[in-house]
């Protein structure tokens, strides 16, 4: 299952998007039980695409909370597709697709 949960709703031509991305967002400042630093590991880039067109992009620091939450809005309509993807500092990526309600 994707790490990304999306809620996208058409409100009079403006699509309200809320998404939650499951990710630890390690700051690199925390230590584990043995006192060793946990290496930083965080989502750096997020991108949203609707019907093949980029509608929103963002870049994160480690100061974005664990399991990052993002909300944004763009011109679109019910039935359109919406894909949200992220890439973290290790190069890992994930994405999820939904149909706008």
């Amino acid at each position: 299952m994707s790490s990304i949960r999306i809620k996208a709703k058409d409100r009079k031509g403006l699509v309200d998007v809320k998404c939650l991305m499951k990710h630890n967002m390690e700051t690199g400042l925390r230590k584990d039980k043995s006192g060793k630093k946990i290496p930083e590991h965080w989502i750096q880039d997020v991108s949203a695409e609707s019907n093949g067109k980029v509608v929103f992009t963002a870049a994160f620091n480690t100061s974005i909370s664990k399991d990052p939450y993002l909300a944004f809005a763009f011109a679109g309509k019910k039935g359109d597709s919406l894909t949200i993807s992220w890439k973290d500092n290790t190069g890992a990526t994930d994405s999820a697709e939904t149909v706008i309600k």
Partner: protein, 150 residues
């Protein structure tokens, strides 16, 4: 912004993981250490937007609590009616202040909401890039530690 190299990375990543995730080819916004590892907010802005002269504006609507319930998850939102290309949020007291940059292609509302970490009481600044200029709004968020919940 070097769009081509970004596309290249995205392409490579998508090729590598297509079998597992079927990630579609798409352009990622540009994370860069030059912006997000900067210790000084002004330098981070310079590297992100090519400018660091800012003008306070009441058209930049920054919403953040006066007192954070929990410094690990502080809801912050920024919105403006200006025609804006990008919004950034800076958290002054964090080791590197730039927390997020969000870019808006035409047709996307100049608005972003997220949740941030704040290690201690800090100034939070929203920066809106509009017409090549930077407009800001700031407020202090108190972070308290200790107590039954803290």
């Amino acid at each position: 912004m070097d769009r081509r190299s970004v596309l290249k990375i995205a392409g490579a990543v998508s090729a590598a993981t297509a079998a597992m995730f079927a990630v579609p080819r798409m352009a990622f916004a540009a994370y860069s250490d030059a912006i997000f590892k900067q210790k000084a907010g002004a330098d981070a802005l310079q590297n992100a937007y090519g400018a660091n002269a800012t003008t306070p504006s009441d058209q930049v609507k920054l919403k953040a609590p006066d007192i954070a319930e929990n410094g690990a998850v502080v809801p912050v939102s920024v919105e403006t009616d200006m025609d804006a290309e990008s919004i950034a949020i800076l958290i002054t007291e964090n080791p590197s202040p730039m927390a997020i940059t969000a870019d808006f292609p035409a047709g996307t509302k100049a608005m972003v909401k997220t949740r941030c970490r704040m290690g201690k009481t800090t100034q939070v600044t929203a920066v809106v890039k509009s017409g090549g200029k930077l407009y800001t709004a700031s407020k202090e968020v108190k972070v308290t530690i200790g107590g039954c919940g803290g």
